[in-house]
Each structure stands twice: as C-alpha cells, then as structure tokens.
C-alpha cells in the first residue's frame, strides 16, 4: 500500500531531474556553439521568452565563469568587443528596416488581399531594388568617368518626341552605346573606357545570374522540397488560412470562398467518377484545339513582327538626324509589339471559359506557358532582326538597337498602364454596372508577373546597348508600383482561391531565370563575341569584336614587369581549352555526386514515412489486442472496473469456494489494475511537450506492445494451471512489478487511451447505474433457493458481463479518467486514483 505514493513521488522527482538534466545538456550544447549559432539556436527554442532568457543567462554565466579562469582583462576585452559588434549588427538591421520601402503599404495590401497578391508586390519591389543596383553600377563605373572627362554634346536640338522615341537629341548622349568614347582618360589615374565598359557589363551580368540562381535555389529549397499535391482537405483546413489578412471584408470574403470551395470539393468527388470516354475525348479535343490556336497565334505574332521590322527597315535611313515623321514612324514596331503583348494574353485568358482544367494550378500553368511562348517568340524575332539586319545596315547599329529597346521599354510602360486600366478598371465598371454576373475582377497575378518579367528582360537585353536603361526601368517600376496599388485597392477583390502562392513565386523566379535571363545573356554574349562593333562610334570602335578588348589589354600588360602572372593566367587558364574541359568534368562529377546524395535522401524520406505508417499499424495492432483481451475475459472470468469496489468484494466472497477460478480471477484483477494504472498514467502524462519526436513515440509504442505481449502470456499461463489463490496473487504482483519498470518512464501511452474526457461525470453516472442494475440482478438470482451454488455463480457472471458490456459502451467513447490535468496535478490525481485501486485490492483479499 505504501509503495504507491513513494512511486509517484519518485516519478515526480525523476521527471524534475530529467528536466533539469535536459536543461543542463542544452546549456552545455549552447556554450559549445559560436556566438552567432548560439543566438540563432536560442531564438529557435520553442519556449517562452522568460525561459529563453533564463537559459541565455545560464549560458552567459557559464561562459564568464569559464573565462574568469583565463586572463580576465583579455576576456573582458573580447567580451565587450563581441558585444559591441553584436549591437552594431543589430543596429544595422534596424537601420535597414527603416530604409525598407513601402512597409506600411505592404502591410495594407497583405491585410486586404492576402499573401498571394502580396507576392506580386514583393516581386516588383525586388525588381526595383535590382534595377537600382544595376543603375548604380553602370552609372558609377561607366557614365561618371565619361561625364568627368568630357561627354559628347548632342548635335540635334530637343524636339519633345525624343521622350517617346529615344532618338534624335539622345542619339549621341551617354544614354546609348554610341555616346561612349574609346579613349583612355588620364587624370588622377588612368581610366580605360573600353575596359571599364566591358568589365562593368560582364560583372553586372554575372552578378545578376548569381543573384537569380541564389534566390531561385533558396526558393526551391523552402518551397519544393517536400511539396506534394496531395492532402488538399487537411491543407485547406489547417494551412490555408492567411494570418496576414486583417481587413474585415476580406476576412468575410475568405470565409465565404472557403465555404464554397469545401462544398465544391465535396461534390467534386461524385462528379469525377461520372466522366465517360466521350467526355474525356471532348476535353482532349478542346485542349488540343486551344493549344493549336495559341501556338498559331504565337507564330503569327512572331511572323508579323518580322515583316513589320523589314518594312520599317526599308523606310529607315542611316542618318543621324531624322525628320519628325521618320522619327514617329519608328514608333510603329514598339506599338504593335506592346499591343500584341496586351491583347493576346487577354485572348488567352478567354480560353479558360472553354477548357475545363481539373485543377486551378494546371490552368494557371497552361496560361503561363502560352504567355511565355508568345513573349519569347516576339523577343526572339526582334533579336534575330537586330543581330542580322540592323547590325549590317547601320553605321552605329548598337545605338540603333539601344533606341529600339528604349522605345519598347517606354511603350511597354504605357501599355502596362493601359492594361491596368482596361484589365482592372473597365472590367470593374462592367462588372458592377453592366453585367453584374461577371462581378468585380480579381487581380491576375500570373499575367501581371509575366509583364514584369518581360519588362525586366528588355532591360537586360538593353544593358549592353543602352547602359542607362535601368534608370528608365527604376522610374517605370516605381510608378507601376503606385499605380498597381491604387488600381488594386479600388478595382479588385481578394482572390477567390487561395492558390499555392509560394510555389507560384518559385515558378516565376525560375521563369525569370531560365528563358528570359538566359536568353538575354546569350544575346549579349553573342553580340560581344561574334559581331563586329560599329566603326564610327562607341567604346569598341576599330576592334574585331568586343571580347578582343581583353587580349589588347593583356598585350599592353606584357610590357609591365609586375603583371606577368596576369598574362600567364590569361594565356594558360582563360584561353586554354584544357582548363575548361577539366572544370566541366569536375562540375559534372560534383553534380553527379549531389544527385546521388539527393536520391539517397529521397529514399530515406520514403523509408521514414513508411516507418511512421508502420508505427501507426503497431499502435492499432496493440489497441486491437487489448480490446480483444478485454472482450474475451468476461467469458472466462469476471473483470472489474475500480468503480465497482463493493461489488468486487462480494464477488470474491461468493466465489471463494473455487480455488482455481478464484486464482484466475485474482490474476485478472491484478492485471486489470495494471491496465487501469497504465491508462491513468497515460492520462496523467498527457501534457507532454507537443514537440515530441516521432522516434520517442516509436520507442514507446514498442514498449507498450512488449508489455501487452507479456501480459497476454501471463494470462494464458494462469488460465492453464490451476493455481492457488496466493500463488496467483504473487504472480500477479510480479507481473505488475515487471510492468511497472517501463511504466515509470512512460510519459504517455501510444494507444488511444487519452480519449476526450467529455461528459465524464455523465459516463460515470451511467456506469454506476449499470452496476446497480447488475447488482439487483445478482440479488434476485442469489435469492432463488432452488439453484445450486455454481448456478448462482453462472448467473452472477452473466449479470456482471451484461453490466460490464454496458459499462464499456459508456466507457469507451468517454473515459471517466482525469480530464487532462496539467503537469504535477496530473501526477497527484494519478496517485490518488492508484491509491484507491490499491485500497480496493487490499480490501478484496
């Protein structure tokens, strides 16, 4: 009897010790880390601030005690220096946050339209920053030196149309390639314009590539690693709610949308199975038709642009000063191109009415692919025309291309504004007044992002021909941001479907990188590598190709004695095929190795997932076994709950004559109590930290199963042998002790014992009633004088069984156990309950 409180006290102590140990270990781990990692680790701890601070203080105390043994002065110094640096770092972070643009606007947009629309603005802001950076680079390294050492003055007067065409007045300015000289300026230092131009553009392109690859990789890592299309229902319930949304109307609308989606998904299940072969064929036909149509449109656009360019080229003359009409004619191509970019995507989005894509994602991807193809084909045709026609026919062809790009950028801007007017404002007006059926438009993220990507591609292509294009781009994006924000808040409603914005964003960055940036890069590289620069203008006049500026420079360097190593590197590394061959080989090997590693990890993930499923099976197996046991017991021997103390006693007395069955019974009683204790423990131990790992769950499941097996064995052994009551008791005690060991460190049970304690008192009441009924039955039975003792026993058992079945039916859904008490109070309750059980047990014998 006295062992129960002891055990509990011991358990409580053990738990406390365990926690302290854990904390000590954590502190030790943290002390071993570097300062940066330590802060990161402390920040990531799933604890409250107070606990974190406590741990942090402990770590700091530990560190200072360690250091005090060393030179105190040095330790103090290093400590204060590191503190100073840390504070500096924090204040830099603070300052950066202050500088961050449009924080309030971003919050507002997120609050009204959610994360998916916000991602467009984040992307726009990112592009804007990117352009500011590239403008600073280009302006700083190319334009400023030129401006200092005497720029070329424009030969033509300003007429106003230049703002649109970029020609005339601007032709010979720093705006374009042609305005830069090939001289080496000698001032404080020698400044070679050729080299500056070449290296600035190269470094800029390389930096762009690296930035894109990094952001793409990190985006892929966080968003695509384990993403799978499955589990939409649970996802909708638990992950789809956007906590950023704070606007009342938006919240209402979101709730409505979710409602509709859930209803749809419920009805979809029934619908999907009804699809017949003919319907499938019809769908397939529609897809085929729309793809053919869209591809046809794309090809048509490309071809018409080509013929238009040819027509324009016939009319254009190679002079520096055009007449006003001639200048205005140059606007035709950018106008048509931008018009196509505006109208054709709108046309594409009409297809959506006919195509019934099963998922919204597939529909969006189809739309994106079509738009990308269209823009690629248009840009491809233009580039081909520039490389092959303009480059041959004009004396200062780089500037001509620069002007063409300038016009494209400007017109693209006008059409973006028109697009948001037509696409959003007009459809809102139509949707609210003329055709209310259409409703207020949603913000089309895919289309808008593609427009941004296209605009950025123009800037990349133009960087070589017009180094100051990023300046135009900055103004353009800045105005666009404000415009889109106004248009969004006035014309649009929050998106109906909460799509997977993060994945879409990854796709967009990937798109920006792959066809568009790589395309622009290859175009610039081709120009620098194979085309002859124009003879009369630009920094590279007189060279065979742009790249030869490097070999000229190296030749010059050979005269300087100190720079032999540069020459050596150039000749033996940069210009040798073997070097590139080796590099390629090494990279291929590394890629192969990483690929293998990732394959291995994929397998591992699969295995781990399988393991979780297996654990689930283990658990349910264990549960089944326990339940079977409980079911099978009443047929052999009676089984008790601890609420039935008085009855149990009388049972024991009434069946006292039969020693073997009695022993069995007692063994079962002991076992029963064990089970109860286990359950109680499981309940008491429920408030485990929610971050328990799967592995510990595994362990516990295994233990629990083992224990169950042990119990089963015990039971069968007992039922085989006609044991004496004391022997059985001893065995039961043994069994109990045996199981108590593992139980002690058991924090929670793997089986589903921790059912919800709803209507607990109710269940207890019902159980009591059932028992009373059973007892009455028994009384009736024993009151019958004609029946023999065994007969009475039989009846008692039957009645009890009945009562128990009733009891269990109440007991199973709602456990009359502890209602999830927190921490130590759970322990105390468990202790009390156990004492009770012990009392019953002692009284019984």
């Amino acid at each position: 009897m006295s062992m129960f409180p002891d055990t509990v006290a011991f358990t409580e102590d053990a738990i406390r010790n365990e926690m302290e140990n854990e904390e000590q270990n954590l502190v030790k781990d943290l002390v071993a880390m570097s300062t940066r990692d330590r802060i990161r680790a402390i920040q990531d701890l799933p604890m409250s601030f107070e606990e974190k601070k406590h741990i942090r203080n402990q770590v700091m105390a530990f560190k200072s005690s360690k250091q005090s043994r060393q030179f105190t002065c040095f330790a103090d110094c290093s400590e204060s220096v590191s503190l100073f640096f840390r504070r500096c770092g924090y204040s830099i972070r603070s300052a950066r946050q202050t500088l961050e643009l449009w924080q309030v606007i971003m919050k507002e947009i997120g609050g009204k339209f959610g994360t998916s629309v916000l991602s467009y603005f984040v992307f726009l802001k990112w592009l804007l920053m990117f352009n500011i950076f590239s403008f600073l680079v280009n302006f700083g390294f190319i334009t400023i030196p030129l401006l200092i050492y005497g720029p070329a003055s424009p030969t033509v007067s300003f007429r106003g149309l230049e703002i649109l065409t970029g020609a005339g007045y601007f032709t010979n300015t720093v705006m374009y390639y042609g305005g830069y000289s090939n001289e080496t300026h000698v001032g404080l230092v020698e400044y070679n314009m050729q080299l500056a131009y070449f290296f600035t553009i190269t470094v800029y392109m390389v930096l762009c590539g690296i930035a894109l690859i990094f952001s793409m990789a990190s985006s892929f890592r966080t968003n695509y690693v384990l993403a799978s299309p499955a589990s939409s229902g649970a996802w909708q319930l638990l992950c789809s709610w956007d906590f950023t949304v704070t606007n009342e109307r938006a919240v209402k609308q979101r709730k409505n949308n979710l409602c509709v989606q859930l209803k749809e998904s419920l009805s979809e299940k029934a619908q999907r199975e009804l699809l017949t072969l003919s319907e499938k064929m019809k769908h397939f036909g529609v897809y085929l038709g729309s793809w053919l149509l869209s591809t046809g449109l794309t090809v048509g656009c490309g071809a018409s642009i080509y013929y238009l360019c040819q027509y324009e080229q016939q009319r254009a003359t190679d002079t520096a000063s055009w007449s006003l009409v001639q200048e205005a004619e140059t606007l035709l191509v950018p106008f048509v191109v931008s018009l196509m970019n505006l109208v054709v995507p709108l046309f594409y989005s009409l297809f959506y009415k006919f195509e019934n894509y099963s998922s919204q994602r597939r529909q969006i991807y189809a739309l994106v692919v079509r738009n990308v193809l269209l823009r690629m084909s248009i840009l491809g045709v233009l580039c081909y025309y520039w490389m092959n026609v303009v480059a041959m026919n004009f004396s200062c062809w780089e500037s001509m291309i620069g002007q063409a790009l300038y016009r494209l950028v400007i017109f693209d801007f006008f059409f973006l504004m028109l697009g948001s007017f037509f696409g959003e404002f007009l459809s809102k007006v139509i949707g609210t007044t003329v055709l209310p059926r259409l409703g207020v438009p949603e913000f089309d993220i895919a289309r808008n992002v593609l427009e941004l990507i296209y605009a950025q591609t123009l800037a990349w292509v133009g960087i070589y021909f017009s180094p100051l294009l990023p300046a135009i781009q900055i103004v353009k994006f800045f105005i666009l941001f404000c415009l889109k924000k106004v248009s969004l808040t006035h014309n649009c409603q929050p998106p109906r479907r909460t799509g997977r914005a993060a994945q879409m964003q990854t796709t967009f960055i990937a798109l920006l990188f792959f066809p568009f940036f790589v395309g622009a890069l290859s175009m610039v590289a081709y120009t620098a590598w194979s085309l002859t620069p124009s003879e009369q203008c630009g920094p590279f006049r007189g060279l065979n190709n742009t790249f030869s500026v490097v070999s000229v420079w190296i030749d010059d360097l050979e005269e300087f004695p100190g720079s032999q190593w540069v020459v050596w590197i150039y000749q033996n590394v940069i210009r040798s095929e073997v070097f590139y061959f080796l590099i390629t080989l090494i990279i291929l090997v590394i890629i192969y190795m990483f690929w293998q590693v990732s394959q291995g990890r994929k397998e591992l993930i699969g295995l781990l997932r399988q393991q979780i499923v297996n654990e689930g099976k283990d658990k349910s197996f264990l549960l089944d076994k326990l339940q079977n046991l409980q079911k099978s017991q009443p047929t052999k021997t009676p089984k008790q709950k601890n609420q039935k103390k008085p009855k149990r006693r009388s049972d024991v007395q009434s069946s006292g004559g039969q020693s073997s069955s009695n022993a069995m019974f007692q063994a079962f009683l002991a076992r029963q109590r064990l089970e109860e204790e286990e359950e109680r423990r499981s309940d008491g131990g429920v408030p485990v930290p929610s971050d328990m790992s799967t592995s510990s769950a595994l362990m516990q499941a295994m233990l629990a199963r083992q224990r169950a097996d042990d119990l089963v064995e015990d039971v069968y052994q007992m039922s085989d042998k006609p044991l004496s009551s004391s022997g059985a008791l001893a065995q039961a005690m043994q069994a109990r002790q045996r199981t108590e060991g593992p139980e002690r460190d058991e924090l929670y049970s793997t089986a589903g014992f921790s059912e919800n304690p709803v209507n607990r008192s109710n269940a207890v009441m019902q159980a009591r009633q059932a028992r009373q009924r059973a007892e009455e039955d028994r009384m009736d039975d024993t009151g019958d004088p004609t029946s023999s003792v065994s007969n009475v026993m039989m009846q008692v058992m039957e009645a009890r069984q009945r009562a128990e079945e009733e009891d269990r039916s109440h007991w199973l859904p709602a456990q009359p156990q502890n209602p999830v008490p927190p921490g130590s109070s759970a322990l105390i309750q468990a202790m009390l309950a156990r004492q009770q059980a012990g009392n019953g047990f002692d009284d019984g014998y």
Binding site: T222, Q236, L237, C239, D691, A697
Partner: protein, 187 residues
C-alpha cells in the same frame, strides 16, 4: 544607437534581441503597441521589469488580430496562465513566433497549439470541427462539417489513430510551403 530611451536598459534590449526575432527598434515599437492597449496598466518604464498583464479582451482588439478567426486561441496559446492574459514578454513572444523570421519548426509548434482547442496534444475531429466553423462562418451543415473533417484526418493521419498528432501535423506543414508566409502577422 544615439537615441536615448528610458524604457529598457541596453542589457534588456540585448536579451530581447538575442531571444526573439526582433530588432531593438521593433521591440520599442512593440512596447509602444503594448502600452497603447492599456495605458493605465502598462508603465512606460520597463527597466525594473514590472509585473503586469494585459487581459485577452484588450489584446484581441488589436487591428492585427481583430479579424482573425483564431484570435482567442492565438493569445491563449502564448499566455502562461492559459486564460489569455499576456505579460509584455509573452506579447513579444507571440509576435516573434508570428514574424517573418521565425523558422518553420517553431511556427509549426505554435500553430499546432493554436489549433488544439481542447489542449490534449492531438488534433482530433472535435478540434477540426471547431477550426472549420471558425473558418467558414458556420454555414456548412453538420454533415458537411463532419465529412470535411473526416476527409482531412484521413488524408493527414499517417499512423492511423484517426486524430492528428504533432508528427502528422508537421508532416503536413512540410508539404505546404505557403504556411511560412501565411502564418505571419505583420506588426
């Protein structure tokens, strides 16, 4: 660092910066917001670490939380007494976990707490029903609610105990990349 403020000592600010995802400026702003909630309760001087709590009713009235269907659960999950009274430290904790910088694991732990209405460390059907009712203005019929919840459990439950443990939940979160950006409240 030139601007002098008397709300916190430098050591306190260091501790905040080391233990949360906020910078000094944000901590001060958070204090401002906290003070705004109950100007008569919350002192401006925190150098002595005064012991004061702001009740749930005031906190859920913040514009950031006001329309959130889980506002009460969010605040309750972060309050030590479980009733939703938040001290300043808990207040900072709450927005730290909900900030942009917090890692997925940390967010997942607290999201699980928020969705676990009956605090039994499992998301059972009852929890999901409550979640769903909060998400949908209670327009679905009880049968539909039950169906949706059953489907959700069936999809996400790996170990077959017909309720979602933290492991199940985390596994689901790891497949939902949006969670990082949507479980986020800008302050």
């Amino acid at each position: 660092m030139g601007n002098k403020q008397t709300i916190f000592t430098d050591e306190q600010l260091d501790a905040y910066q080391d233990c949360t995802f906020f910078t000094r400026k944000e901590i001060l702003r958070l204090h401002g917001r906290y003070h705004e909630l109950a100007p008569h309760l919350v002192p401006m001087d925190y150098t002595k670490e005064p012991d004061c709590n702001v009740p749930l009713a005031l906190i859920v009235n913040m514009p950031e939380l006001k329309e959130n269907p889980f506002r009460n659960r969010i605040v309750e999950s972060f309050s030590e007494d479980g009733m939703g009274n938040l001290s300043f430290n808990e207040f900072v904790d709450m927005f730290s976990v909900l900030s942009e910088m917090a890692p997925r694991e940390l967010k997942a732990i607290y999201a699980f707490k928020i969705y676990d209405f009956n605090v039994d460390n499992y998301l059972c059907k009852e929890d999901l029903e409550k979640t769903l009712n909060r998400l949908t203005k209670e327009e679905l019929t009880p049968e539909e609610v039950e169906l949706v919840c059953e489907k959700a459990i069936e999809e996400a439950d790996l170990d077959g105990d017909s309720k979602l443990s933290f492991a199940d939940f985390e596994n689901m979160i790891s497949r939902a990349p949006d969670f990082l950006s949507t479980f986020h409240i800008r302050i």
